[in-house]
Symmetry: C2
C-alpha cells in the first residue's frame, strides 16, 4: 500500500527511503532538506497513516510516498539508500532485507543488541557491496577535525572523562522504547553512553581498548533496562576513558580529554548548543604559582562556524561514500568498523553492569 | 634547642606552633599573617636550620622561635595550638604528643594511614578536650555556603562527578613524600582525591555512603603508590559520587553535582583560580527544543567575593572553635567527624584499587 506524490524523474540526487517514522528521523529530514544532493522518496511505517502524517509534518509531500510497511520502502526500485531509525532489536532483520535489495544503509545507533549482531550487520553490508554508516551526527560536525588538530598539543593522552545525562519525564519512563527490554534494551548506555564511547574512540585515534568495567551502583528500571551507568574503559598502555550516562538527572553533555601537556574540554559535544557555531576549549598544563597559592593554568577558546547543521553534514558524507560505491569502489569500511567497535563496548559495559561490575575483556 | 625572637607579652592572639616546615605550611602562614586573631610563635623541623630558614622565608622573625624538633614546639608553654603539616604516617604519634600537652590541632590531610588511625586521632583529641580540624581549606571559602544555598534548586540529588589531577615533574616523582610508601602512601588519592571526596560529602549533606569501588585501571608507581585512580561511591538511596584523581596529566579541578531539576558545576573548587573571587554555575534541567535539534538548557553564573583567602578563613574558623573550648565548651565534633569519614573513604578506595577493583563496604 502506497500513497502520496511519487518523484517521477531522476533528480540526480541520492534517493532515500526512510524505514520507521521515529522522532529522531524528523531531525534528520530537516537536515536532508538542506542538501542539494539527497531527496526522500519514500517513508515507511507499520501504519500508512503514520507514514503519511510524518510526510505531512516534515514537508516531504513533493517528493515522498508513504508506505504502510518497511518492506515496501526497501523494495521500492526508486530507493537507492535507506535511513533506518528503527529500534536496535529490529536492525539485523531489516538491514538484511536492505542488503537483499542492494540498498545502502544509514543505520540509527545503537546498531545491534549483541556483538554478534553488530558483526553480522557489518558483514552483510560488505557482502552486499552497500555502504554502512551509523547515525552518530556529531562525528560529521567540522568541530571533530578541530578536536583532532589540537590533540597533539595535549602531549601524551592519558585520560578521557565524559558525562551525558538528561532527565526523563513520566511518559518517557513508561512508554519509550529505550526503557523496554527487547528493542532498545541497552537503555541510557545504548542511547547516550554510545556517544561518550564514540568520542573517546575518536580522540584516542580509534585504538582498540582491552577491557571495561561498569562503575558501582548502576541503576536499572523494573524491566532491567539501564537508567544510569558509569564505566571505565582501559587501554593496553594504561590510558583510560570513563563515561557516566543516565536518564535520571538534569542535562550534562561534556567530555574532557587530558594529556601530559594539556586538556581539551567540550561541554556540548554531541548536540551543540548552537546550530551555527560549535565551541570547545584547550588548557595548558600549568598548576600553581606563587606560594602554592594561585592557579596559573591558561585556557583558550576555539570556535567552529557551520554552514550546515551536523545532521545535514552526516547525510552529505554518507552520500559521497555511496557515490564512490556507485562508481565502482568498495564500500568504505571505517564507518562500519567504528560502529561495530562502539557496539561491542556498549555490550561489554552492559555485561559488566549486569554482573556485579566485574571486569569484562574486550575482543575487538 | 631554640633560636629566634620569642614573643614575650600575651598578644591576645591564639598562639600557634608549626610542627613541620612543609611547603604547604608556607601558604598557610601567608594566610595566618592576614589575621589579627592568630600569631605563629614557634616553628619546629627535624633540623634547626630548616626551621630558621622557614621563619626567615615566611617573614615570621618578629614572633616565631625556631626549634630543631617537633617535640619542643609542642612542649613550648606559649604554644596553644599546633598546625601540623607532617606526612600522614607521623600523625598518630604527633597528635598524641599534642594531646598530652593539651594543644589544639589543625592537622594536614590525609589525617592517617588507616581507618583505625583516624579513629584514634579523633578519640585522642576528644579525650584531651582539644579541638581537631583538618587542613581542607576550600571548606572555609564562603563559596561553600553559596553551594549549599543553591542545592535545593537542583531537586533530588542523584550524582556527583569530580576530577582533580595535575602533572608531576621528575623531581616530584622521585622525591616527593606523596610518591613513597609509609608516609603519605595514599598518593594522589590521599592528596587530591581527598578533596573530591570531601566536596561530595559536603554537597550530599554529610550523609554516610555505603560502599566504594575503584575504577578499572588504577595506576601505581614502582613503590605501589597510587599515581592515578578513579572510584565510585554509592549511597543507600542509589545516589552515586565519582572521582578521578592523578598526578599524571594536566590540571583539572572540577566537580559537578546533578539533581532532577538542575546541575551545579565548579571548575576550580579546591584552589580558586583567583584569590578575591570564587565562581561556579548552576544550570536548569532543560534539554532539547525544536525538532529535537537544539539544546535549551540555561546556565547561571555565581560569584563570591573574598576579603581573605580561604586558607586565612580556615585559621579564623579554627581559632573561633578553640576560643569556645577555652571558654569551657566541649570541642566541636563535626570537623573531626568529617575528617574521619573522608579518611575512611580514602582507605576503602585504596583497598579496592589494590584488590582488583572489588566493591568495598564502608562502615562509617
Amino acid at each position: 500500500m502506497a500513497a502520496g506524490a511519487p518523484s517521477t524523474a531522476d533528480s540526480g540526487k541520492l534517493r532515500f527511503g526512510i524505514v520507521g517514522a521515529a522522532a529522531i528521523a524528523k531531525k534528520n529530514v530537516r537536515g536532508m532538506k538542506k542538501l542539494d544532493c539527497v531527496e526522500v522518496v519514500a517513508v515507511g511505517s507499520r501504519s500508512l497513516d503514520k507514514a503519511a502524517a510524518f510526510i505531512e509534518e516534515t514537508g516531504l509531500k513533493a517528493t515522498a510516498m508513504a508506505f504502510g510497511s518497511y518492506e515496501e520502502v526497501i523494495a521500492d526500485p526508486r530507493v537507492q539508500a535507506v535511513y533506518m531509525p528503527l529500534p536496535a532489536g529490529l536492525h539485523v532483520e531489516w538491514v538484511k532485507r536492505a542488503c537483499d535489495h542492494g540498498k545502502h544503509v544509514l543505520l540509527e545507533k545503537p546498531i545491534a543488541l549483541t556483538p554478534e549482531g553488530a558483526d553480522e550487520i557489518a558483514a552483510m553490508c560488505q557482502a552486499a557491496n552497500v555502504q554502512l554508516m551509523d547515525g552518530t551526527m556529531f562525528m560529521h560536525n567540522p568541530r571533530v577535525k578541530e578536536f583532532e588538530s589540537h590533540l597533539p598539543s595535549l602531549g601524551e593522552l592519558k585520560n578521557f572523562t565524559s558525562t551525558f545525562c538528561w532527565m526523563g519525564d513520566d511518559d518517557f519512563f513508561q512508554n519509550d522504547v529505550r526503557t523496554q527490554k527487547g528493542l532498545d534494551e541497552h537503555g541510557c548506555l545504548g542511547d547516550i553512553g554510545w556517544y561518550c564511547i564514540r568520542a573517546m574512540l575518536m580522540l584516542f585515534g580509534w585504538e582498540k581498548p582491552v577491557c571495561v568495567q561498569a562503575h558501582a551502583g548502576p541503576k536499572f528500571n523494573k524491566s532491567g533496562v539501564l537508567m544510569h551507568v558509569g564505566a571505565t574503559i582501559v587501554y593496553k598502555d594504561g590510558k583510560t576513558g570513563s563515561l557516566d550516562c543516565g536518564f535520571d538527572h538534569a542535562t550534562t553533555e561534556a567530555f574532557q580529554v587530558a594529556g601530559t601537556k594539556g586538556i581539551m574540554h567540550c561541554n556540548d559535544f554531541c548536540i551543540p548548543a548552537r546550530e551555527d557555531r560549535s565551541t570547545f576549549t584547550t588548557s595548558d598544563a600549568q598548576f600553581l604559582t606563587d606560594l602554592d597559592t594561585r592557579m596559573s593554568q591558561q585556557t583558550e577558546s576555539h570556535e567552529v562556524h557551520l554552514k550546515l547543521p551536523q545532521e545535514a553534514m552526516m547525510f552529505k558524507a554518507f552520500t559521497e561514500l555511496v557515490r564512490k560505491v556507485q562508481a565502482g569502489e568498495a564500500p568504505e569500511q571505517h564507518w562500519a568498523n567504528i560502529s561495530v567497535m562502539t557496539q561491542k563496548i556498549v555490550c561489554a559495559i552492559q555485561l559488566s553492569a549486569e554482573n556485579d561490575c566485574q571486569n569484562v575483556q574486550l575482543n575487538l
